[in-house]
């Protein structure tokens, strides 16, 4: 009995030590002075990337640890384990992050403008045009889109845009078959003959035309306004606000540079994407950046100002997106109420930036 007890104790001790080690592996060492940044291979991540590789962060005395994630949901998962402090993402994942982890949106950086829906030339959707009232460029209608298998990453900006598109035609998520698939995988699968409609964003979408596919709908044509945002975790706002401030500053410094020299971000985008397994040519990276309108710090802050009617533009956009998800059942009414109570915006960093400049 003695021996067994001793053995149990020693194993328990070893296990505890091990748990410590393992959690150490996933956590950050010396986290107080390092800002952990989560990016994607999307346009909103490029200024952050540029700030890092061009030494702006260093010049500002900011130590940054950047990680590139595949998409919004992956970033949110990592946030659950507290692996990043700030991130660039689309609004829908930001909303999820707020509901789950009380993360805050600290700035708008551009309006999403890259989601596209493609079909094959022989699809019945491609044969119908001009039937969606008010949106002549959208192909197909309620009847042709109904029952289709659509490859789309769920809980992302594209998902929201898709849902809006369906609503325009009088359809809901139930009327179609949405298969959750990363854009890269979806492209390959669609090429192999799977699915009827594929959701792509740039730069993957640049190759779609060469495949002979037909674009059924273009994101900017659809009234789904999704801002791409900067997000900060609750913990980081409490513990490292100065680091976040410095990061936001270098971000918008890069945006300013871009305003005067648009090729700058394009070359940065080229490196960022290719380094992370997203093939993009130099011409494509120019197009990639050209399509997006980056907001300056002032423009960004303006979104959060309350207009007459008491609501800011930012709040209006968010409400639109959240109400959509509530309708679909992905977010519950209670969660939305809780969201309204605790708030999703934190404008202190933009305001401080404004105060410094003005």
């Amino acid at each position: 009995m003695q021996k067994k007890r001793l053995r149990i104790c020693s194993i328990a001790l070893a296990a505890a030590l091990l748990a410590q080690v393992l959690s150490g592996c996933t956590g950050q060492e010396d986290s107080a002075h390092v800002l952990n940044v989560a990016l994607q291979t999307t346009a909103q991540g490029v200024p952050a990337y540029a700030a890092q590789v061009d030494g702006l962060n260093e010049a500002a005395g900011l130590q940054v640890n950047s990680v590139v994630y595949a998409n919004g949901p992956s970033q949110n998962e990592a946030l659950g384990a507290n692996e990043w402090d700030v991130a660039t993402m689309g609004a829908p994942p930001a909303i999820m992050a707020n509901i789950a982890y009380n993360a805050k949106i600290i700035a708008f950086v551009l309006m999403e403008a890259s989601t596209e829906f493609w079909v094959r030339p022989d699809s019945d959707i491609a044969q119908v045009s001009g039937q969606v009232e008010g949106y002549p460029t959208i192909l197909g209608n309620g009847d042709t889109w109904r029952g289709k298998t659509i490859l789309c990453p769920v809980a992302t900006t594209s998902h929201f845009i898709l849902l809006t598109l369906l609503e325009l035609m009088g359809l809901t998520e139930e009327d179609v078959n949405i298969v959750n698939m990363e854009v890269g995988q979806a492209y390959t699968a669609f090429k192999a003959g799977q699915g009827d409609v594929v959701t792509l964003w740039d730069p993957v979408s640049f190759s779609a035309e060469d495949e002979g596919w037909v674009r059924a709908a273009y994101g900017p044509d659809i009234p789904a306004y999704t801002p791409c945002v900067l997000v900060a975790s609750e913990k980081a706002i409490a513990e490292k606000p100065e680091l976040i401030q410095a990061w936001v500053e270098t971000y918008f410094d890069v945006v300013e540079t871009h305003q005067s020299d648009s090729s700058y971000l394009a070359s940065q985008a080229y490196t960022l994407l290719n380094e992370n397994n997203v093939t993009i040519t130099e011409e494509e990276s120019v197009l990639f950046i050209e399509r997006k309108t980056f907001f300056t710090a002032q423009e960004s802050l303006a979104f959060f100002q309350e207009e007459e009617g008491g609501e800011s533009q930012a709040q209006a956009y968010l409400d639109e997106i959240v109400s959509f998800f509530v309708q679909q059942g992905s977010i519950s009414q209670e969660e939305w109420d809780a969201m309204k109570e605790k708030g999703i915006f934190d404008t202190q960093f933009l305001e401080a930036l404004q105060a410094d400049a003005g």
Partner: protein, 259 residues
């Protein structure tokens, strides 16, 4: 390998030896044919082997193939070590202490049928997508067979040895170390064998779902870029390593446990 249909002095026809060769050749031929029909989707065996050598000896990406292999192996080995130690401990506890078994075993039985892959989302939520998460998933996959087999060893243990030792005045400690453990050792080894392949399976699954390097990650990345060559090369590696691990374990088994 003894074969039931072959009796005593049965002499195998010479051409039987060619059968394995024939079947492999047939397999390669079918593969080659399918590849010719579908060149965009499926590379030929020759292209695949060439690609394998290129990736091994002339890597072009930042993270080489061997880096991926080592990343996967490392995770499995760590998890496997932990799982074996704790699994044997738990199995012994279940077998040795009636009370412990009665209280704790039902919980184990409740969690056991859940496939390790199903644990992945929850574990990622707790441990993020770092090494810890993948090691934890492999741990679950390896832990369960070790516990099950160790405990099973207890149930099949010949009680007469125990009684004999008790009669001869052996203390509990000696009973455990000298009689029980050697008795259940074959079962522990059987469990460890299953655990090894289970661990390898889990690491690939975990990497396919959330990782930044490793063979599973390579497959998923390649799937995204439609790179069938990479997928096939990764599959070959995964299969080979699995086979090598099993082979090494069998050899080890013969040395450690010749009876």
């Amino acid at each position: 390998m003894k074969h039931t249909s072959s009796h005593g002095s049965f002499q195998e026809p010479w051409w039987w030896k060619l059968l394995p060769v024939a079947s492999v050749a047939l397999f390669l031929a079918v593969w080659h044919g399918a590849a010719l029909c579908n060149p965009a989707m499926l590379p030929t065996p020759v292209e695949t082997i060439r690609s394998l050598f290129d990736m091994l000896f002339f890597p072009t990406t930042q993270i080489t193939l061997l880096d991926h292999v080592w990343a996967s192996l490392r995770r499995v080995l760590i998890a496997y070590g932990l799982a074996t130690l704790s699994g044997v401990l738990l199995g012994v506890l279940f077998g040795w202490s009636r009370n412990f078994h009665d209280f704790v075993y039902p919980i184990f039985e409740l969690l056991r049928p859940i496939p390790p892959i199903a644990w992945i989302p929850l574990i990622i939520m707790w441990l993020g997508i770092g090494e810890g998460a993948k090691i934890a998933i492999c741990f679950i996959g390896s832990f369960i067979p070790v516990v099950v087999n160790t405990f099973f060893g207890f149930t099949t243990l010949d009680r007469t040895y125990l009684k004999a030792a008790q009669v001869l005045g052996a203390r509990q400690k000696d009973l455990l170390l000298e009689v029980v453990l050697p008795g259940i050792f074959p079962n522990i080894l059987a469990g460890m064998k299953v655990a090894l392949s289970a661990g390898w399976l889990c690491v690939i699954a975990a990497e396919m779902i959330a990782a930044r390097e490793g063979l599973g990650y390579l497959i998923v990345r390649s799937m995204e870029s439609g790179n069938m060559l990479n997928i096939l090369v990764a599959l070959i590696f995964i299969g080979s390593i699995s086979a090598i691990l099993s082979f090494l374990f069998s050899k080890l088994e013969k040395v450690v446990c010749p009876w």
